[in-house]
């Protein structure tokens, strides 16, 4: 299936290669570089590139292209999904997935890749199994290893691959048993010029951090499971139980994992927590443009809107922007024309605003496109859809775990058209 993998950085250097079958020359990447040159933006490189003898399937994450070389028919999503899984694993192991991190840990990377694919077919992609096979590097372990000469590679071969619950390793022990669940919801919305919602939907995830001894069997129930319209589960969730009783029943993996992601049914009206008043105008014949932006809270259920960040791609004709924020700081990059304004928290009594003028190229006609405004924000302790966890029960173990639930609402792709 997957023949080879090349890692290419933003400046177009191949800094790592790995082959699972016979070696494919790195000159195959020339086709990729061609496509890269043709693309105006790094994101515009087509994910699947045909070449005379191979197919290149690439994903771009953290400004690194992961280019897989394929020789024959294979479902492209299979490869794409796998590549993303590789990136997730790297991130899990090294904290960040950057060129430097990969270069520093090249041996671990190689060991990981070796375990993840056998002859191009995925073998062990479950992070729990991998972590048993190859211990993630930590500073302490590196120091100890250099002194004692012991290794990163697990002395015992993993049991997970053989068990019926491959996602959980056996013999887990904690002194403090705890299970935390984060319900994080993202609002994707497009708001039109007049402030009315064109489309809005809520996507949510339940991320878990479970540190429990032994083989606990958990059930999690919601107050209002009918809200969940379309769900996808971690493989540990018993699907039949969900179908029948709308209860999540599972033996959790050890550590952090995504239990569930869901979509809230679209019949529900989505509460839009912020509104934007904007006035961006260019006058014909003058080299000045007006820029006014005011943010305000709306339908926040009494919670504060925090970490607000506004960004907008201004028209190419704009040379500079001279703005005055009532709070926070703003930056304008004259090269990329990207305006970003770090607002912080919205105070309902004193609404944050950004006002001022933009200078345009003299002589050039007024730009006829309208910039869109992208907004990011966070609201703590609120799941905007109203989803509530009812209770969490544990079976199979004697001790009493510490349980915690946290709710958060974030902006996903939240755009305001002007």
């Amino acid at each position: 299936m997957i023949h080879s993998l090349f890692l290419i950085n933003a400046s177009g250097d191949i800094f790592l290669e790995k082959h699972w079958k016979s070696v494919v020359s790195r000159s195959v990447c020339d086709y990729f570089f061609e496509a890269l040159e043709r693309a105006t933006e790094p994101e515009n490189v087509p994910p699947v590139i045909p070449t005379p003898h191979h197919f290149l399937i690439n994903v771009l994450r953290h400004r690194i292209y992961f280019v897989a070389v394929i020789q024959s028919e294979v479902p492209p999503l299979f490869v794409i999904e796998f590549l993303h899984r590789v990136v997730d694993t790297f991130q899990d192991y090294f904290g960040v997935c950057t060129e430097a991190a990969i270069k520093d840990n090249v041996v671990v990377v190689y060991e990981l890749l070796e375990e993840m694919l056998d002859n191009g077919f995925p073998l062990a992609t479950e992070s729990n199994i991998l972590k048993e096979l190859i211990k993630p590097p930590t500073i302490l372990r590196t120091v100890v290893n250099t002194i004692t000469g012991s290794t990163n590679v697990g002395e015992q071969l993993p049991t997970g691959q053989l068990s019926v619950v491959p996602w959980r390793r056996t013999g887990v022990k904690y002194t403090n048993n705890e299970a935390y669940f984060d319900v994080v919801e993202e609002i994707d919305a497009i708001i039109d010029k007049s402030g009315s919602t064109i489309t809005a939907e809520i996507q949510g995830v339940v991320d878990a951090c479970v540190k429990l001894t032994g083989m606990p069997d958990l059930t999690l129930s919601f107050m209002n499971p009918r809200l969940l319209d379309d769900v996808s589960f971690h493989p540990c969730v018993r699907f039949k139980r969900w179908e029948a009783e709308r209860i999540l029943s599972f033996i959790p993996p050890d550590g952090n994992f995504r239990l569930l992601s869901y979509h809230v049914s679209s019949q529900n009206l989505v509460a839009i927590p912020v509104y934007v008043k904007h006035n961006i105008s260019f006058r014909e014949g003058s080299s000045q443009g007006r820029f006014e932006l005011t943010l305000g809270p709306k339908q926040t259920m009494g919670k504060a809107v925090e970490s607000v960040l506004v960004s907008s791609q201004l028209p190419r004709g704009v040379l500079n922007a001279n703005l005055n924020p009532s709070q926070g700081t703003y930056t304008f990059d004259p090269v990329t024309k990207l305006l970003s304004w770090d607002v912080g928290k919205i105070n309902p009594q004193k609404l944050p605003s950004l006002k001022g003028s933009m200078s345009l190229q003299t002589g050039a006609s007024k730009p006829d496109e309208n910039p869109t405004i992208n907004i990011q924000f966070k609201i703590q302790q609120l799941a905007i859809s109203g989803l509530k966890v009812n209770r969490l029960d544990m079976y199979g173990e004697k001790y009493k775990p510490f349980k915690g639930i946290k709710y958060m609402t974030k902006a996903g792709k939240f755009q305001v058209r002007t």
Binding site: F55, P75, H84
Partner: protein, 963 residues
């Protein structure tokens, strides 16, 4: 110099490897792996490295393996040194060591060791550990690519491994099967059911491979579930509620889905919930290629969900949706907004979304789509704007209602400042005008005016062509344009020059008086042009249009040649012919057949022998299918209903008193009685006789196979079939009714809801048949507008009383009663479930009781509309008629208002919120209601009423009893 350094370093590494210290060796290996990762050649260290293959240190050993696999091909002789180590490890008691030895051994691409590998694989394939067997499955592919001559032996191993029952092995062996012998479909037969049942528990990557393989398999083994008549297809999303029986009844030759086909569809469905996007896509393509059209809608939501994923995933999924949306608009229409473009999307994502939006456009939604497209035109991404204009053009040609609107919009764009926008609009307008030129001479005039300002060659050329083609419509302007062109001819682009020559020729033919000189001037200019194309064209045109002694017959036809009516270009989707490829494949993505693509065969006309899939050995009962059916809620309600009717019967009908108290004994005694009965009444009509026999047979069939799940679908099928004789499923109109489904006896509870009990009383000569049917009706006037966030609670009290629907006197023996079950309806919030009890009190068996379609459709569609306009909410009634073989009885159900409400439990806070909402409704919306059209007003009224009832419910929770 550099080379020297490198050698030095290698020397250095060699020393380290040959030292005695483990840590030094490890350090050296780590550095070597670093070299390999960078793509540098480290092959000359082979002898030094290979010595460490038997090291005790696991990490060191692993790194040596990495090295070995990388360079063995280049250093074959030296690689052989390591083989004995692996051979020893293959006998290790630890399964994981055996597995890893096999893994490395098979990865060493040295032809000499093929026999050793073959032996190792054969041995590993019978290993006790499933993990080792999995590794063996992987090794099969490696050996096959190393030496294809081993194919026959390898197929034997594959055959053996396919029989494996472990979920670990399944994915890998199917992968090997796909690689080595994808055409040996016969190997799958016996394993088909096992694979279907194991599928849920196989690891995700294996699932993808198995699903793709099974898709191909199913296309060769089952007959097509798709019906011929396209009309049905068109509506099939809307007739979502239609049950399977209907299709069968409608068809002249009833189609019965192979139970194995059904098994595959059923077992893959839960995988739509997988977190792995590849699995979701695989299931989606399976449904697309295999499921009956009306079941397709289940995949829509999941596909739309994938759009939230990474950019690359979006790209592939959107491509597949684009192909699907051409054939089946309805699937994605409700999710249209998910395809709205965001300014942050990558360009190829944007164009795909546009493509889909254009595919989805129809008369109803075109205005929304056009409004959306209008905002895209203002985008900063000019390539995207150009694509948008193309899309508008396509909408305009596909939907004739909006052609004018689109044209006007495009004409406005002509004054846009951006050249690419203008050029694209001109090109699209040209195409549009070609379809209906006569009405649009003003647009052509407008374009002529703009001509001076447009500089993009393609656009200029397009305008010139338009002038020439429709010079009759603009007789005054065209010569003037030609005059201007004559001035600037030399400085134009080639493509513009060519069109100028064309324009000149056409004008010469239609209006030679004004343009003769101009034409000759232009032809002269063209004659000496640098470009030979233009010189050629000029020469050709001159010969054609200017009559002289040399030119033959051709010039007489010049007018007919040049002014021939030209067919308008067809604007169609680029994804039009993509469906020749299996969805979700690489070939589909690239729209060209890629290496190793396996074509999906067409459905066979006659299904191949089904019995090949029957496995002789009785397998332990799999849990897979059963709980899904037994546990689901509707099943429960059906069960409950069953016991209800039991009580009822005992109370009401005295003849039934002999019927047993417990269900089990009943069903058994029944069949006995039944046989008695049939003996006794042997003299009576043969028809009814036959029927009873079938009944009896069914009973017997039910009892036998209860635990063997592979049989159950068979008997269900026959049941369904049987039931068809009684009940023709019907639809009133798409919105109002969905019906009637299946059976419950003690042995069977199926998640579809009809229940049915039959009782034969020995003492009585006539057969009494009692039939209970669950109806789900939507009373159109009031539907649930209760917000979904409020959870409907179960009814506190369900009245036992049933209402008369058809009296036995009027019904000539057939009587019908109905009762509201107050259970949530499985067909959706806007439906009410209804229990219908049919009983026969006549002497003769009544046959073919069904709800007649003819009368009901006609009448009811009308009726419902009437209700809609009356704005009533009290008494939406369902009218239909019963037919038996001879007679037809019209009946109607008038529900009390209370039956149409959902009971709700809510907290006080929620209540206040809802109350607030309804207050807002009354104050604001009703006040301004006049402005809304009637239909809008109606909607608000409905909501208002619902809110009112909500309030009612809150204040009087026991009110429901009175309804």
């Amino acid at each position: 110099m550099l080379n020297h350094c490198f050698l030095c370093r290698n020397e250095d590494l060699k020393e380290m490897l040959e030292s005695n210290k483990e840590s030094l060796k490890l350090e050296a290996m780590k550095r070597i792996v670093g070299l390999i990762a960078k793509g540098k050649n480290a092959s000359e260290l082979f002898p030094a490295v290979v010595k460490n293959v038997a090291s005790k240190n696991i990490e060191l050993k692993k790194l040596v393996y990495v090295y070995l696999v990388r360079y063995a091909e280049e250093q074959q002789d030296l690689a052989l040194l390591s083989i004995s180590t692996f051979q020893r490890a293959l006998k290790d008691p630890n399964q994981l060591i055996r597995a890893s030895a096999l893994r490395v051994l098979s990865s060493i691409r040295v032809p000499i060791i093929v026999p050793i590998m073959m032996l190792a694989i054969k041995e590993a394939a019978t290993d006790l550990s499933p993990y080792v067997r999995k590794t063996a499955a992987h090794a099969i592919q490696k050996l096959y690519s190393l030496d294809p001559d081993q194919k026959e032996h390898l197929i034997e191993v594959i055959e053996k491994l396919l029989k494996d029952k472990s979920t670990l092995v399944a994915g890998s062996v199917v992968m090997a099967f796909e690689e080595v012998c994808p055409d040996r479909i016969d190997l799958i037969h016996k394993n088909y059911r096992k694979l279907c049942n194991l599928l849920v528990d196989v690891e995700e990557w294996g699932q993808v491979v198995i699903i793709h393989m099974l898709t191909r398999y199913a296309r060769t083994q089952f007959v097509s579930p798709w019906r011929e008549d396209a009309v049905f297809d068109e509506n099939s999303e809307k007739t979502f509620y239609d049950s399977e029986e209907e299709r069968r009844v409608d068809q002249s030759k009833p189609y019965i889905m192979d139970p194995d086909h059904r098994l595959l569809l059923r077992n893959t469905k839960p995988l739509l919930q997988s977190r792995n996007t590849a699995v979701v896509m695989a299931v989606s393509q399976l449904y697309w290629h295999l499921s009956p059209k009306h079941e397709l809608s289940v995949i829509t939501k999941s596909l739309v969900r994938l759009l939230r994923s990474h950019r690359e995933v979006q790209y592939i999924v959107l491509q597949n949706i684009a192909t699907m949306s051409i054939q089946r608009k309805g699937m994605f229409e409700p999710f249209m907004k998910s395809f709205y473009v965001r300014s942050t999307d990558a360009t190829h994502i944007k164009t795909l979304k546009l493509e889909i939006l254009t595919n989805l456009a129809n008369e109803a939604n075109i205005s929304t789509i056009l409004r959306e497209l209008q905002t895209y035109v203002k985008s900063q991404d000019k390539a995207f704007v150009a694509a948008t204009i193309q899309a508008i053009g396509r909408c305009a040609t596909n939907i004739s209602e909006v052609t004018d609107t689109c044209l006007n919009g495009l004409v406005l764009l002509l004054s846009n400042r951006d050249e690419t926008v203008v050029a694209e609009s001109v090109v699209v307008i040209k195409k549009l005008l070609q379809t209906q030129p006569s009405q649009h001479s003003d647009i052509i005039k407008h374009m002529a005016k703009l001509f001076d300002n447009i500089t993009v060659p393609m656009a200029r050329a397009s305008i010139l062509w338009l002038m020439g083609e429709y010079c009759e419509h603009v007789p005054k302007i065209a010569p003037d344009v030609l005059r201007k062109m004559a001035k600037t001819f030399t400085s134009e682009e080639d493509i513009v020059k060519l069109q100028t020559v064309n324009l000149a020729a056409k004008l010469y033919l239609s209006n030679s008086k004004q343009t003769k000189l101009l034409t000759q001037y232009i032809l002269n200019l063209g004659k000496y042009d640098q470009n030979y194309d233009i010189r050629d064209r000029t020469r050709f045109i001159r010969q054609l249009i200017v009559p002289n002694e040399k030119s033959g017959a051709l010039s007489r036809y010049a007018r007919r040649i040049l002014m021939a009516p030209k067919p308008a270009p067809v604007l169609q989707s680029a994804f039009k012919d993509r469906d020749r490829f299996q969805l979700g494949t690489l070939s589909h993505t690239l729209n060209s057949q890629s290496n190793g693509y396996l074509e999906l065969s067409d459905w066979p006309a006659v299904a191949p022998d089904q019995s090949v899939r029957i496995v002789e050995v009785v397998e332990p009962v799999k849990e897979a299918g059963a709980p899904l059916l037994g546990k689901s809620k509707p099943g429960k309600s059906a069960e409950k209903f069953y016991s209800d009717s039991e009580e009822e019967e005992e109370g009401s009908s005295s003849e039934d008193s002999s019927s047993s108290s417990s269900e089990e004994s009943e069903s058994e005694s029944e069949s006995e009685e039944n046989s008695d009965d049939s003996n006794k009444s042997s003299s009576s009509e043969s028809d009814s006789e036959k029927k009873k026999k079938t009944l009896k047979n069914k009973k017997l069939q039910q009892q036998k196979p209860d635990s063997k799940d592979r049989y159950w679908s068979h008997s269900v099928q026959s049941h369904l079939f049987f039931l068809n004789k009684f009940l023709v499923v019907f639809k009133f109109n798409l919105r109002c009714i969905a019906l009637l489904l299946i059976i419950i006896t003690k042995l069977f509870s199926i998640h579809i809801v009809l229940s049915f009990s039959n009782q034969f009383v020995a003492s009585c000569r006539c057969s009494l048949l009692r039939l209970c049917v669950f109806l789900a009706c939507q009373f159109d006037a009031v539907s649930w507008h209760v917000r979904v966030s409020l959870q409907a609670s179960f009814p506190v009290f369900v009245p036992e009383t049933s209402h008369e629907l058809l009296h036995r006197m009027t019904g000539k023996g057939l009587s019908a009663q109905y009762r509201f079950t107050r259970q949530p309806c499985i067909y959706g919030n806007s439906m009410v479930s209804l229990q219908l009890t049919l009983s026969n009190s006549s002497d003769q068996a009544l046959e073919n009781i069904h709800i007649s379609e003819k009368s009901s459709t006609g009448q009811n569609i009308h009726h419902f509309n009437a209700i809609g306009e009356l704005h009533t909410w009290t008494c939406g009634s369902v009218l239909f008629s019963f037919s038996t073989k001879e007679d037809e009885f019209s009946v109607s159900i008038q529900p009390a208002v209370g039956e149409l409400l959902v009971p709700i439990t809510m907290t006080e806070a929620d209540f206040t919120k809802e109350q607030g909402l309804s207050v807002w409704l009354t104050n604001d919306r009703l006040g301004t209601g006049n402005r809304f059209k009637n239909s809008h007003l109606l909607k608000y009224l409905k909501r208002l009423i619902c809110h009112a009832f909500l309030l009612c419910y809150w204040s009087m929770p026991f009110l429901s009893e009175n309804f």
